[in-house]
């Protein structure tokens, strides 16, 4: 290992960069890989050459990138119609009261949502979960209106409370447009 070493820039394998064919020129005994490669070559015939592979790869890359970008941007701008605010929590013993403001961002549709609150461990799994109800008035959210929902989380063990409880979360279980 301590003899003089080599230098930079490995040479390129002839033909190997252009192909998914075996790089070894020696014949191989039949095995699953070889058989699959031969079958693919037979089925695809002359269409499966370097040019078509490059075209296919280019198409996959281009389409994948464009589609991923477009879908991502759509998601960024396509926000849920019911906006759930940051949960506010009051803890008494092992019981937590979680309050959250839900706002209807719709211009013309009223919603009667089902809202829930949960206590999550550090893996995002539920330690406790409960429905939340509007603290004042009814659950009907008129267009551009907001309402406070309150849920009570109980039943968390002392050990989970000490070691696992990571955060409280509030979420819309069902949007439910009002009739």
């Amino acid at each position: 290992m301590n003899s003089p070493g080599p230098a930079s820039g490995p040479p390129v394998e002839r033909g190997a960069a252009d192909t998914l064919q075996p790089v070894a020129p020696t014949p191989s005994p039949p095995d699953l890989l070889e058989a699959s490669a031969r079958l693919a070559a037979r089925l695809l015939g002359p269409w499966w050459n370097y040019r078509t592979r490059r075209l296919l790869f280019g198409a996959v890359i281009t389409a994948g990138f464009v589609v991923g970008l477009v879908l991502g941007l759509i998601q960024v701008y396509d926000r849920p119609v019911l906006d759930v605010g940051e949960p506010r929590v009051r803890v008494e013993g092992l019981t937590a009261t979680v309050q959250v403001t839900v706002r209807n961002t719709s211009e013309d549709v009223a919603y009667c949502p089902a809202v829930g609150v949960a206590a999550l461990d550090r893996d995002g799994l539920d330690l406790a979960k409960a429905p939340a109800f509007v603290d004042l008035g009814d659950a009907r959210l008129a267009p551009k209106a907001s309402a406070n929902f309150v849920g009570v989380l109980a039943g968390i063990s002392q050990q989970d409370f000490d070691e696992q409880l990571s955060e409280y979360s509030a979420f819309v279980e069902q949007e439910n447009p009002c009739p």
Binding site: A7, P22, F65
Partner: protein
């Protein structure tokens, strides 16, 4: 009179043989095409690791949207891990048989497509399907990348390279919060879509990576002479998969490292899961503090991977031939008591410090171990060997948290740590006994096998060429012939020397380009030890570029360069000076704004640790150039041209170089001044310093040189002894080359 007449006697203590060479750690830059594949493959690793843990940060969002139970989320995680394990072995087999760059390109592209598919999931089943397919693509990079890295980078830099690659895993962890923030801001679907985008970019870049020849670095390491782009067949290319695994497992040091990794994983596989709980239970941290503390510990791991690779390569280079296994084994052994202390102390800051150091040593074992694993496997078996190791580690890591939990339930969490931490020491002991005992033999067996395959390949070529009427002889065993020998297998610009005389500097097929403009074309040179050698050629043909490459100021894109037996590739210029190579650049090669004394001090850089030695050598140099003694405090830029060259030459002389590279000594100087400086150059050569003098003036070159090299359009040829050359003929040749 610029210089003292009786220089020879006075500068005797400046001779190279009397000059102490400081011992130091040779470090190497990754040069030429080398950096880009490593960066890219590390990026692929980062992306894959970040994805592995992305799902768990999306759990709350997925639950909200699909109303999933915790069991369903557990199934999503578990199925993904099962798929990864199932995919690892086939990808290892593919990596040994097909173009690895294409495997990574297609695998990563498919991975990106599957991410988008997962982001479009309309329910649990589609989500589950997406994650399972994603898991199948996930291992396209790890076994393939390690096999590729072994062929991209020199054998003597393998640990360092593996260390940098391993950073991909740690940086992947650091990307996780980004996924969580994106999910909170834009939703889980957008996160999946955006995480797919880098996959397409790295897939495209991977497609453009060159596919290195398998085993080429082993061939280079042994300096085997052949067409390096030739694929040399081995019997492992055609054996069935099961037979391949039998061969791999028969390698004693590999199997020992496999067992060691599995045993170690039983301990550290559960650290990430249980340590936050430990900090909460025993140190009264809240969950946010515990999680943050754990990320601080990860920094220790980062330091570990970066230092251990370098250390293992350095020790290997220093003669500790099994250092890669040794460093890994010692690191594991050291980590065990550190972890035990960490989980016993009650003072939290001390616990975190101990934990960081424990993590440092634990992770430090990975790069040298990966390098050693590659060393002992034949180039055609590395994909399968790496995948087998990955599967073993995955299974052990999956079992680890369960074992922690079982012991904690039966006793308590601290006891679980105390029971499992010794496994790290056991892993280290396995390396230090079984793996260490077999490593050297296994590694040499691989080298020998590569050498034999190479010899067989050459024998086949010989037969073919003889049939075609070519009777050129090939070296026995395929070893690169002595470049100074009469029957060297290839034409080389070397000066004929006795067969047992190793050249001081040996350059092979050096190519250098400034961006798209190639300047040096396959330069070969065997510079004998001792004497003054002139390198002549017209302006702009690459003489200075060649000198800068030898001095380390420039790094060639390809080719090899040896100073004695020292491979110079990647060694920075200041370390080449310590090795005994000094470059005196063209023009006023000194710092004009500094005093003469300070300029000379710069030359004493290799002896910076010994002030007395520096002082003594400066006095010796001032004896050679008494004119400088009277101007020590004067700014060098205010000296005459001849005096400035004296300063430059004096600075070079202080270092007592074995090889002095002088570029255009006579440039802009009066003939009388040049003559006096040439006298000093002759005296320096008389002391045993080998001088390579670049000159445009043929008269100057022939007057001082023993032998002459000629450079034209980036190609070098040896013209032979200067005494046998005719100045007019040489000038004519120069003019011809100008046309």
């Amino acid at each position: 009179m610029l210089v003292t007449p009786a220089t020879t006697e006075r500068i005797s203590s400046l001779t190279p043989t009397l000059t102490p060479r400081p011992k130091f750690h040779v470090t190497r830059k990754l040069v030429g095409v080398a950096k880009w594949p490593l960066v890219l493959l590390t990026a692929v690793y980062t992306i894959n690791v970040s994805d592995q843990f992305l799902l768990s940060s999306m759990f709350p969002l997925l639950k909200r949207e699909f109303g999933l139970s915790d069991t369903a989320l557990g199934i999503l995680s578990g199925s993904y891990l099962i798929s990864v394990t199932l995919g690892t072995v086939p990808f290892g087999a593919l990596a040994d048989r097909y173009s690895r760059t294409r495997i990574i390109a297609w695998g990563t592209a498919a991975w990106g497509v599957t991410m988008i598919f997962t982001g479009l999931a309309s329910g649990f089943v589609m989500l589950l399907l997406g994650r399972m397919v994603l898991g199948l693509w996930d291992p396209c990079d790890n076994p393939t990348s390690q096999s590729l890295l072994a062929d991209y980078y020199p054998v003597n830099q393998r640990s360092k390279v593996m260390g940098i690659y391993q950073m991909g895993q740690l940086t992947g962890f650091f990307l996780l919060p980004i996924g969580g923030l994106m999910g909170e801001a834009w939703g889980w679907r957008a996160t999946f879509f955006f995480f797919a985008l880098p996959a397409f970019v790295v897939a495209l870049l991977s497609w453009r990576l060159p596919e290195p020849v398998r085993g080429v670095q082993e061939r280079r390491h042994q300096r085997l002479e052949s067409d390096e782009s030739a694929v040399i067949p081995s019997r492992y290319q055609s054996i069935p998969v099961t037979e391949a695994y039998r061969v791999i497992l028969r390698c004693r040091s590999y199997t020992a490292s496999l067992v060691s990794s599995a045993v170690g994983s039983l301990f550290f596989g559960g650290i990430g899961v249980w340590t936050p709980t430990f900090l909460i239970r025993y140190h009264d941290l809240d969950i946010a503090e515990a999680t943050t503390a754990l990320s601080v510990v990860a920094v220790g791991g980062l330091v570990g991977v970066l230092t251990a690779g370098n250390l293992a390569d350095f020790l290997t280079h220093s003669g500790y031939t099994s250092a890669r296994i040794g460093v890994a084994g010692v690191a594991r052994l050291i980590s065990a008591p550190l972890f035990i202390a960490a989980f016993l102390v009650g003072y939290t800051p001390l616990m975190l410090v101990l934990l960081s150091f424990g993590a440092l040593f634990l992770v430090a074992a990975i790069p040298p171990l990966n390098a050693a694993r590659v060393d002992v496997l034949h180039p055609d078996l590395r994909g399968r060997g790496t995948s087998l190791d990955a599967v073993t580690q995955s299974l052990a890591s999956a079992a680890s948290p369960v074992i922690y939990g079982m012991i904690a339930d039966a006793s308590d969490l601290r006891t679980a740590y105390m029971v499992l931490i010794p496994l790290a020491a056991v892993a280290g002991l396995i390396l230090m006994t079984f793996a260490l005992a077999g490593y050297r033999r296994d590694e040499q067996a691989v080298q020998e096998m590569v050498r034999r395959e190479h010899a067989l390949h050459l024998a086949g070529l010989t037969a073919a060429t003889q049939v075609a009427g070519n009777t050129g002889s090939l070296p026995a065993e395929g070893r690169r012939p002595d470049p100074t020998a009469d029957d060297a297998g290839k034409p080389e610009a070397g000066i004929e020397a006795a067969e047992d005389d190793e050249p001081l500097l040996h350059i092979e097929e050096l190519d250098f380009s400034y961006g798209p403009i190639q300047v040096l074309f396959g330069v070969d040179m065997a510079l004998p030890q001792g004497g003054c050698h002139a390198l002549v050629g017209r302006n702009g043909v690459g003489k200075t570029t060649l000198l800068a490459n030898i001095g380390g100021l420039l790094h060639a894109q390809s080719g090899r360069m040896f100073f004695r037996d020292q491979d110079l590739v990647g060694i920075p210029p200041e370390q080449r000076a310590k090795l005994g190579i000094t470059l005196m650049a063209a023009g006023q090669s000194m710092f004009g704004s500094l005093s003469v004394r300070d300029n000379l001090w710069f030359g004493a850089y290799p002896f910076a640790g010994s002030q007395d030695l520096v002082k003594e050598r400066l006095e010796e140099v001032l004896d050679v150039f008494p004119a400088l003694g009277r101007r020590l405090e004067q700014r060098a830029g205010t000296l005459s041209g001849g005096e400035q060259q004296m300063v430059a030459l004096g600075r070079a002389l202080v270092a007592g170089p074995e090889l002095l590279l002088i570029d255009e000594l006579s440039l802009g100087l009066a003939p009388t001044v040049t003559a006096e400086l040439l006298k000093v150059v002759e005296d320096i050569a008389g002391l045993g310093t080998t001088i390579l003098l670049v000159e445009q003036s043929i008269g100057v070159a022939l007057s001082v040189a023993d032998t002459v090299f000629f450079m034209d359009r980036g190609q070098l040829s040896a013209l032979g002894p200067a005494a046998a050359l005719d100045a007019d003929e040489l000038a004519h040749r120069l003019l011809e080359s100008h046309e």
